[in-house]
């Protein structure tokens, strides 16, 4: 069933407008120029205005849209395969302030899409960014309108009444007119009126009093080309005669040889210099990570892909949990949006960080599903946390889409102003996507440019509450995402500390071992002393052996996660967040407690002795070196320094057998020797 438009015009007002109208001019409904200027300023920057053309195509049930920028960025043309417009609907719907299709054609399109447009100011969106806009279209839809004719003794000029400068004969060929007595169902006999093809006037043979006239125009063979002269419109002074606005749009209506298949082509011409400058901006030199550093054209394409109703990219994620969440919440989309400039063309897909090729792996435990159904608000989507900061930075935050179009920039709905410290830092590791399936689309929820929500809106309050909770304490799904990020961060940090500590301790033992080898190869008294010492088979322990062990082994838990010991793992440790387990590869050198002292291996045993025990003891019988971590010297140095000092002291002292000079010389070598300067 085709939609119908009903315009009720009194003849008096029409007559007044007819007098001064040029032959091809068309009015915009007599709106003050200053208001038009204000309305055109709703859409900024350029890309937000430009996306309205894509939204119009979506509302026209287009499946494919092609956007082509001219080589010099002077113009851009948008072509779609939607249902198109006829000249009369263009006049009465497209260029009419407040003439949103949602009002006259219902909330859903024939294809079942929720219409995006709702304010009827879309045609003004690009007024500030170009001098002219040319619209070419045709549609198979008939145009139906009614009007009241109070007096039938004067002919009615239908061309002027319709507001479209069309050849009267062409109009009459397509026109079907029915006249009823005013307020009654009884038709006026055809013999009492006629339409004159030469003038396009409705003429009554006799005065039948007031009548209701219904005009039905078959537009299937009509095509029009309209040029909207925004330059002229916006240059008019605030006090200009309203009638002067009428000729800012020129329209030509032609007859088609074949029946129209629909489709619209919009050319945005003579883009303003500042727009061209933005489009021509070169990519920032050097290391580039963010979208804002890319070339102007690349930025426009990226933002266009964000704020238009297009498909998600097909990825390996297909079939995964994330894909399910996105598919469940995704409204119908354009099948194809292609953007070209010069010889290059690209088909856009909706940018969602986890589906981008540069995104790191998304772990299952870092996905927080969003499923809202409260008070008429229905929304679905996800939040995703990452172990590292998200780049490009433009992906941080959550995109909220209403009718497939992202509203404003990605956001945390105010949480970013409430959080501090690590919790705030975690936001840079969170991204997400929420598709609003119902609600939040009323005029009182969204600002005219669809750039933000009105915060007093009930639906917005519900969404915010679900998303980040109420009050100053962050809750909701965002709190869960932050918790997941911090949990990983803490686990990774604690594990790194554990592994680093083990490597650090190992390095101390390796350096002392290398120091002993060095002393031996240097020859002289120290070498002889060490050689003699290592021949010993006696125990020199004095109580430290019975002290309890100090914990330098693999810990039982790290950051609340259970630790298991593994061997020959591909990495030093593997964290399984789903099971809450960490497996540490204990076959790696850093977990070896052995120390080779010139051809003889000793085990280093870490003991928690008393402050009165010696700092270390050697048990040659058992080939063990006992380290007293309870010694007061521990308080003066770090673990590596202490272990190294203890080993140097006990080896020098034992080898030198009371020769203080030799002991000092050996100890200094053992304390300072290293094979790896990168320490």
């Amino acid at each position: 069933m085709e939609s119908l438009t009903k315009n009720r015009l009194t003849r008096k007002s029409e007559e007044a407008r007819m007098e001064t109208r040029p032959s091809r001019g068309m009015g915009v409904g007599g709106v003050d120029p200053s208001i038009l200027r204000e309305l055109s300023g709703v859409y900024k920057p350029f890309i937000k205005a430009f996306k309205e053309l894509i939204s119009n195509a979506y509302d026209a049930d287009a499946t494919e849209v092609h956007v082509h920028f001219s080589d010099d960025f002077d113009s851009v043309k948008v072509t779609d395969d939607g249902i198109g417009m006829n000249p009369f609907s263009f006049r009465s719907e497209f260029t009419r302030i407040g003439g949103s299709s949602r009002k006259w054609a219902g909330d859903r399109t024939k294809r079942g899409r929720n219409r995006i447009g709702n304010k009827g100011i879309g045609f003004l969106a690009l007024a500030r960014y170009c001098d002219r806009m040319t619209v070419e279209s045709s549609s198979a839809r008939p145009f139906v309108t009614e009007f009241v004719c109070e007096r039938t003794n004067v002919p009615v000029d239908l061309c002027k009444l319709l507001g479209v400068p069309i050849d009267p004969e062409l109009l009459c060929k397509s026109l079907n007119c029915e006249v009823r007595y005013r307020g009654k169902k009884t038709k006026v006999a055809h013999s009492k009126y006629r339409i004159v093809p030469e003038s396009g006037k409705l003429t009554f043979n006799e005065n039948v009093g007031a009548v209701d006239v219904e005009l039905q125009i078959d537009c299937s063979h009509l095509q029009f080309k309209a040029t909207l002269d925004f330059d002229r419109l916006l240059k008019l002074a605030d006090t200009a005669d309203l009638e002067k606005i009428s000729d800012f749009t020129l329209i030509e209506v032609n007859e088609l040889a074949k029946k129209s298949k629909g489709g619209t082509s919009v050319s945005v011409e003579s883009l303003k210099p500042f727009v061209k400058r933005e489009l021509r901006a070169e990519r920032r030199k050097g290391f580039v990570r963010n979208i804002a550093s890319r070339s102007g054209f690349e930025q426009v394409v990226w933002h266009l892909s964000r704020c238009t109703p297009i498909c998600y990219p097909a990825t390996q994620e297909e079939g995964g949990r994330l894909a399910t969440l996105l598919r469940d919440g995704a409204p119908p989309t354009l099948a194809k949006l292609e953007v070209s400039h010069g010889p290059s063309a690209s088909i856009l897909s909706r940018p969602v960080y986890p589906l981008e090729p540069e995104a790191s792996k998304l772990h299952e435990d870092m996905i927080v599903p969003v499923d809202i159904s409260t008070g008429g608000l229905i929304a679905k989507g996800f939040l995703a946390g990452y172990e590292s900061v998200i780049f490009p930075a433009e992906y941080r935050g959550v995109s909220i889409r209403v009718r497939g179009v992202a509203i404003g920039e990605p956001t945390f709905l105010g949480a970013e102003y409430l959080l501090t410290g690590a919790h705030k830092a975690a936001l840079s590791q969170i991204t997400g996507e929420i598709n609003v399936l119902s609600g939040l689309d009323a005029v009182d929820s969204l600002n005219p440019g669809r750039e933000s929500f009105y915060e007093e809106s009930e639906h917005y309050i519900s969404l915010r509450s679900y998303f980040r909770g109420d009050g100053e304490r962050i809750g909701g799904v965002l709190a869960r995402a932050i918790e997941a990020v911090l949990r990983r961060s803490q686990a990774r940090s604690s594990l790194n500390h554990t592994l680093g500590r083990a490597a650090y301790i190992r390095k101390a033992m390796d350096d002392v071992s290398a120091g002993v080898t060095h002393l031996m190869t240097q020859g002289g008294k120290p070498a002889i002393a060490i050689r003699e010492m290592l021949k010993s088979n006696q125990s020199h322990t004095n109580g430290l052996a019975s002290a309890k062990s100090a914990s330098f082994d693999v810990p039982v838990r790290i950051a609340g996660m259970e630790v298991k010991q593994g061997r020959r793992l591909p990495e030093p440790a593997i964290i399984n967040y789903s099971d809450g387990q960490i497996t540490i590869d204990v076959s790696r050198p850093e977990w070896d407690n052995g120390i080779i002292l010139f051809k003889r291996r000793f085990e280093v045993a870490h003991k928690q002795g008393s402050p009165h025990h010696p700092i270390a003891e050697i048990d040659f019988k058992e080939s063990r070196i006992l380290i007293n971590w309870g010694h007061p010297a521990k308080a003066q140095m770090d673990e590596k320094g202490f272990l190294r000092s203890a080993l140097a002291w006990v080896l020098s002292r034992t080898a030198s057998k009371g020769d203080a000079d030799q002991m000092m010389e050996m100890a200094i070598t053992l304390l300072s020797f290293t094979t790896e300067p990168n320490d």
């Binding site: 050198p589 052995g594 120390i595 051809k599 291996r601």
Partner: protein, 453 residues
């Protein structure tokens, strides 16, 4: 307890099919290493082919600490702690050398072992064979043995190469090894294979002077993507048998690939160059010719130099620029004088257009060693490195003076090649400095060849 063993006994009695052998070319701790990029463990590559093909060992792997990185440079890092500086000599002969590690750090092998362990797919090596290019480069080997013992407590450690060959006692005393190989394996003329390098492709292939084995080795290297070849001779004479062996090798292989290039960097003796060899050297495929010093009883054999350069010029080789040719001049030999070295430098420079000073170290067991045995035995083993000039005190030439000779050679090369001091750029100051240095250099004695002329 380290056991001395011959190469052949090791192969016949201690290597089996079930052995997984890891061959290691260790890093070098030294004060200077000018030819570091040419360090390729020829002996390991030769023995690897034998172990793999003939003995069919379960696995043969190579870890080359000296392999250049992707930029073509061998890692170099200053040593730390007590090893940071090395002091040699007393009084005016005293010199403190900063010490460097050439090659990857020792722990790189530990990390490599850990990485290959992952997944339990490969068994641990049962034997680790560590080679040594020079007998005095043993500090890193001592440390490496200790580390390998800890990383692979079950593996047998074998020390091979010059270190156990010339300093067996030192190996027995100070290395935590199981075997010290005190004689050659007998593979000096065997071919080599770069397969062991896997994806870490080396810059060049080193082959022994043997036409029969070189063809297959070079063919394999080309398939592997390596087209630069150096040729070594066990007797240090590439021109033996009137150069026929070298000519045969190059003629047989040069057409294997259009980009094949030969670098003859050692073992070229001017007195052995023939007309046929000179014609061979003039070919495009030969890109580097470094001639050894040619002596007679006293001083250089200038006649041989004249004859050699004449042959090379007749063959069409431009000797004046020193781009393709250069000559070595020994420094640090026993009983030499500064004047004699300077004279040699001018002779060689006039002959080949470029001069390279080659520091000298006596080989234990040689006649020269025996004639200075008492003197040499008073020197620490590691100070036998030619870069520390072990004969400095004997010659009464200070180490500072030896270093001045290096500077002088650089100036003279700059005179000929005009490439030295490029690091200063082309500023006016740099040009003035170059001119000043050039004038100072030419105040030295003139060329012996000029006197003859």
């Amino acid at each position: 307890m380290t056991k001395a063993i011959s190469g052949k006994t090791l192969l016949s009695k201690h290597v089996g099919k079930n052995d997984r052998i890891l061959l290691v070319n260790p890093p070098v701790y030294e004060t200077r290493y000018s030819w570091v990029k040419w360090n390729q463990p020829l002996d390991l590559l030769q023995v690897a082919r034998y172990l793999d093909v003939k003995r069919k060992c379960q696995r043969v792997e190579l870890f080359d600490f000296m392999l250049p990185n992707r930029d073509g440079r061998v890692q170099k890092q200053g040593l730390a702690g007590p090893q940071r500086y090395h002091e040699v000599g007393l009084r005016e002969f005293a010199y403190t050398y900063p010490m460097w590690r050439f090659g990857q750090p020792l722990d790189a092998l530990g990390e490599w072992l850990t990485a290959r362990r992952a997944g339990n797919r490969l068994g641990e090596p049962t034997q680790v064979w560590i080679t040594s290019l020079c007998s005095y480069w043993f500090s890193s080997i001592h440390q490496l043995c200790t580390k390998v013992r800890r990383w692979l407590p079950e593996a047998k450690i074998v020390i091979m190469g010059s270190y156990p060959k010339y300093m067996l006692e030192n190996v027995m005393d100070f290395c935590d090894a199981d075997y010290a190989v005190n004689s050659d394996f007998g593979f000096a003329n065997e071919g080599t294979s770069l397969d062991l390098y896997g994806e870490s492709k080396p810059e060049f292939l080193a082959v022994p002077l043997n036409a029969n084995t070189a063809v297959s080795s070079i063919q394999e290297a080309i398939e592997y993507g390596v087209t630069r070849v150096t040729i070594f001779d066990n007797e240090d004479n590439l021109c033996r048998q009137n150069g026929e062996v070298l000519i045969e090798l190059i003629e047989k292989t040069k057409s294997l690939h259009p980009h094949l290039r030969y670098h003859l960097i050692c073992g070229l003796h001017p007195q052995h160059v023939t007309k046929r060899l000179a014609t061979l050297f003039s070919q495009k495929c030969i890109v580097e010719l470094h001639f050894e010093q040619c002596d007679k009883t006293s001083g250089l054999d200038t006649k041989s130099y004249l004859r050699c350069t004449e042959l090379l010029r007749e063959a069409g080789i431009n000797l004046s620029t020193g781009d393709k040719t250069s000559g070595f001049v020994w420094i640090g030999r026993a009983n030499e004088t500064l004047e004699g070295i300077v004279e040699n430098v001018f002779t060689v420079l006039s002959s080949f257009g470029s001069v390279i000073l080659k520091p000298y170290s006596p080989v234990p067991g040689t006649q020269e060693w025996e004639s200075h045995r008492d003197y040499l035995e008073s020197i620490r083993y590691e100070d036998l490195s030619p870069h520390r000039f072990p004969f400095a005190e004997l010659n009464q030439i200070t180490r500072d003076e030896y270093h001045d000779l290096y500077r002088m050679a650089a100036f003279l090369n700059e005179k000929v090649k005009n490439k030295s001091f490029d690091m200063f750029g082309s500023s006016l100051g740099a040009e003035l400095l170059r001119n000043s240095l050039r004038r100072e250099a030419w105040k030295l004695n003139g060329s012996a060849l000029r006197i003859i002329d």
